[in-house]
Amino acid sequence: MLNEENSYNIYICGVGGQGIIKTSVIIGEAAMNEGYDVVMSEIHGMSQRGGVVSTELRIGGYKSSIIGKFKSDIILAFEPSEAVRALDKANKNTKIIFNTSPIIPSTLNQFNQTYPSVGNITESLNENYGSVYPVEGEKLAIESGSILSLNMVLLGAAIANDTFPLSKESIIKSMKNNLNSKFHNMNLDAIEKGYNIVKSS
């Protein structure tokens, strides 16, 4: 039976190609291995073509795989403007972790739009929410060996949170189960980097 104290809702979002679904599966399998009931929803139909990708993970006896309005415990955004787009899922206690490197839509001009400055996004999120963690994901990923480890940097940042219900060990075990062993060391390093950034903030 669902119990709000023991439940945890994770909303992950970004742009197609950033490794969002893989990251979500890693978390979901780790939850399963720790004995939790977990369901997940993924929207990825046309995502490879630069569209928005989002996943919703619900740990703790839920039947539906969609998080209700304002019900996310954590929002993990792989792109700053996507963090803002996800705010319908946030409440005042939601932890908002986001990668500060923007992906600017090529259609900006066609629709006469402008991309908001990242500084502005960060400051205004801080003005409205208590737990906001900007992460220089691209920089840390490249330091770990490749931009492709961006998702692991953000995964590390997510699990560093005090409220995160799963252990780092089980996340790492699940990562190893899901990613090519050639890249385990790089990805471990990326997880550590993301983890430490949030722990030290």
Partner: protein, 710 residues
């Protein structure tokens, strides 16, 4: 997740599976021998996984040319005594329907499940049709799972049912079930001996790993000429009566009437309400009942998994004594009409709250918020026996729900309703209600953040960097310009695939679209009905799927239009499955590559040219000649999709700042994701750029070149 576990996993193992992965495991557990599909989201992964696992699983799998052919492959296999599986997106069943409706008559003695993946809210589809209607049209049973575990279990049960009654069974999923992940406990694989190594078999040594069936001739059963069909239909109706009995007693249908949170000591519900639901809608209804503790208000849930033939007796038992019935279902009010028919037939007077009276929305998928808001509309206006409720003014007279429809929006955001619930001492868990109703308030963010949120740039899917379709679209536009053909005089008829994205600015190369393969058929119609220029676009896979018959039609009937076959060497939109234009089949083996050029010629087309669309001058020239050609001209724009793995990476482009006059034509007319404006200047992202050179060719200032220092 190791996909091999879908074959090798032992009974009792737990895996975190996608609904579509669970469907594969279900097929394997059931002992399916033959599976066929045409890829379509949200069902695509099933085919991808079967393609990968078919040999290990000991079954045959193919990507058929279209859903109709896939349906035929499955039906004749089942007629030969094998368990067969076909699956498709909801609109795929339209394509397959011609064969499907008759396969229900002839029967499927081996057992056959048709998985229909519906797409409420149209995440990746042209409509959101409700395929439960097909069951009524065809007279066949429907199972509706609510999570991956049920997908697997119902697959297995579907084969039992199908085999027992020799009738195809529809397994109806929706996007949120197909693309939902959940914990699935595996079961036994029923048949493990369907691999064959019989050296006497005619297939010995060939690429076959499945046991062969045998087709026993029986024209009365399998040849639906009218005298046979009349008997078949009669038998079918009688079968469905028997199956309804099964549905009434099925384990897949059950009642939730004791929720842990209910405090029966303190709460004596004054009314009793029933929710009838299925599929993903059930999940939302269940979570709302638990979170809002609606059980204290007397809410029970009848969850239906075996939804057609509708379990009438069970539903009647459930609704007896209720004060109101909520029917929670996605997309069309189908079960609601069943319920209304039952209570009308019996002559009892119970209000039914569903889609028909406006309680629930008639379109799009549900979520917990929608279900909660919809239920609240009713309980706040008609369950007003609870103490201290300050009736929402707008809802005062809403006992007649029809009158309240216009007030729905007003009520949704009413703080009065939220506050009044909190004041009610009858609510045991008022904090929860408080929390959930906060969901109806606005975001509560300051103006600065609200401004950013309101003005976020949109992020529509676009053609990938390096996609050859961009060059083709640019070329056809330029050719029309050079021939002085106005945009109004040029109709673009398009099809289903990535290239449909050409509908957006700046290309705007989709003016008309119906379905898979329709671009050429539509062009035939335009050619007869107008004197305009017509260019149709169709992908390589879609051409094989449904494009060949209308092409023949166009030539034979002397129509005039340009067909562009965008041959990007894969079925790109659904994730890169093979099609007959490639030298590989669905099991990864070598296969004869069918030449699109030769087919077009064989269809009678005399103007057939292959171009590399990345060569802009040649592309423009070819389109000019094609547009002036009297008859059906075919241009095959051949260039591999940039998402194909293992393609050699080319050097990226760079803006030569000394030559760039910042006209931004490359940004506005190409709209390549790799080119964007940063601080007022054009920049090319060398991580995204695939080195296709189209921007180099179109830049009048010669201000774009190959980046050397990388």
């Amino acid at each position: 997740m190791d996909l091999n576990q879908l074959v090798n996993g032992k009974s009792g193992d737990k895996e975190f599976l996608l609904g579509n992965e669970a469907a594969v495991r279900g097929a394997i557990e059931a002992g399916v021998s033959v599976a066929a599909t045409y890829p379509g989201t949200p069902s695509s992964e099933i085919g991808n996984i079967l393609s990968f696992l078919a040999k290990d699983a000991g079954l045959f799998f193919e990507f058929s040319i279209n859903e109709k052919v896939a349906m035929e492959v499955a039906a004749s296999s089942a007629a030969s005594g094998l368990k067969s599986f076909t699956f498709m997106k909801h609109v795929g069943l339209n394509v397959a329907s011609d064969s499907f409706l008759t396969a229900v008559y002839t029967g499927t003695p081996g057992g056959m499940v048709v998985l229909s993946a519906d797409d409420p809210s149209m995440f990746s589809s042209q409509n959101e049709q409700d395929n439960r209607h097909y069951a009524r049209l065809a007279n066949c049973p429907v199972l509706e799972p609510s999570n991956p575990q049920e997908v697997k279990d119902m697959m297995k049960y579907g084969y039992e049912l199908s085999k027992k009654f020799s009738i195809p069974v529809i397994l109806r999923t929706t996007t949120r079930i197909s693309h939902m992940r959940g914990v699935v406990e595996l079961g036994d694989v029923e048949i493990t001996n369907n691999k064959t190594d019989d050296s006497n078999s005619i297939n010995f040594g060939k690429n076959v790993h499945w046991e062969k069936g045998f087709f026993k001739k029986n024209p009365k059963q399998f040849v639906p000429v009218p005298e046979n069909s009349m008997v078949m239909h009669e038998k079918l109706v009688s079968k469905m009566e028997d199956i309804e009995e099964l549905a009434n007693n099925s384990d897949l249908n059950f009642i939730f009437n004791s929720f842990e949170n209910i405090d029966s000591e303190n709460i004596k519900p004054k009314s009793k309400y029933g929710i009838i639901s299925s599929g993903s809608a059930f999940n939302y209804a269940y979570d709302v009942v638990v979170e809002d503790n609606l059980a204290n208000l007397g809410f029970d849930i009848l969850k239906l998994g075996f939804t057609y033939p509708f379990p009438k007796d069970l539903a009647l038992d459930f609704i007896e004594g209720l004060d109101g019935i909520f029917v929670v279902e996605e997309v069309d009010p189908i079960m609601e009409k069943e319920i209304l028919a039952i209570i009308g037939e019996i002559g009892i007077d119970i209000p039914v709250f569903g889609k028909l009276d406006g309680t629930f929305p008639l379109i799009h998928e549900f979520n917990s918020d929608i279900v909660r808001d919809s239920i609240n509309k009713v309980i706040n206006s008609s369950i007003n026996t609870i103490d201290n409720i300050n009736n929402c003014n707008n809802c005062n007279n809403s006992n007649n729900i029809n009158n309240s429809n216009n007030n729905i929006n007003n009520c949704n955001n009413s703080n009065k309703i939220n506050n009044s619930n909190n004041n009610s001492s009858n609510y045991n868990n008022s904090n929860k209600i408080n929390n959930s109703n906060n969901g109806n308030n606005d975001l509560n963010i300051n103006k600065r953040l609200k401004d950013i949120k309101d003005n976020l740039p949109s992020r529509p899917p676009t053609l990938c960097p390096g996609c050859s379709h961009r060059a083709t679209y640019f070329g056809v536009r330029r050719a029309a310009e050079e021939l002085n053909i106005s945009n109004e005089n040029l109709i673009f008829s398009s099809d289903i695939g990535c290239y449909t994205l050409g509908v957006s600015p700046p290309y705007e190369t989709t003016d008309y679209l119906l379905s898979m393969g329709s671009s050429i058929g539509d062009a035939c119609g335009f050619s007869v009905a107008t004197n305009q220029y017509i260019v149709s676009f169709i992908g390589d896979s879609t051409f094989f799927h449904g494009g060949i018959p209308p092409l023949i039609n166009g030539v034979h009937n002397k129509h005039k239009f340009v067909v562009t076959i965008l041959d990007n060497r894969t079925t790109a939109m659904t994730g890169g499955q093979p099609n007959p234009g490639l030298p590989v089949d669905g099991m990864g083996d070598q296969a004869p590559e069918i030449s699109i050029e030769e087919i077009a010629k064989a269809c009678g087309c005399e103007f057939v040219e292959i171009i590399n669309p990345m060569n802009l001058n040649k592309t423009i020239d070819t389109y000019k000649r094609a547009l002036e050609y009297e008859g059906v001209s075919v241009i095959i724009a051949k260039y591999p999709c940039t998402l194909i793995k293992g393609l050699k990476r080319k050097r990226p482009m760079v803006i030569k700042e000394d030559k760039c006059n910042n006209c931004q034509n490359c940004v506005t007319t190409l709209a390549c994701p790799a080119i964007s404006i940063v601080d007022g200047k054009v920049e090319i992202d060398d991580l995204l750029c695939k080195g296709c050179t189209v921007c180099v060719q179109m830049c009048d200032e010669k201000a774009i070149g190959v980046k050397k220092d990388i």
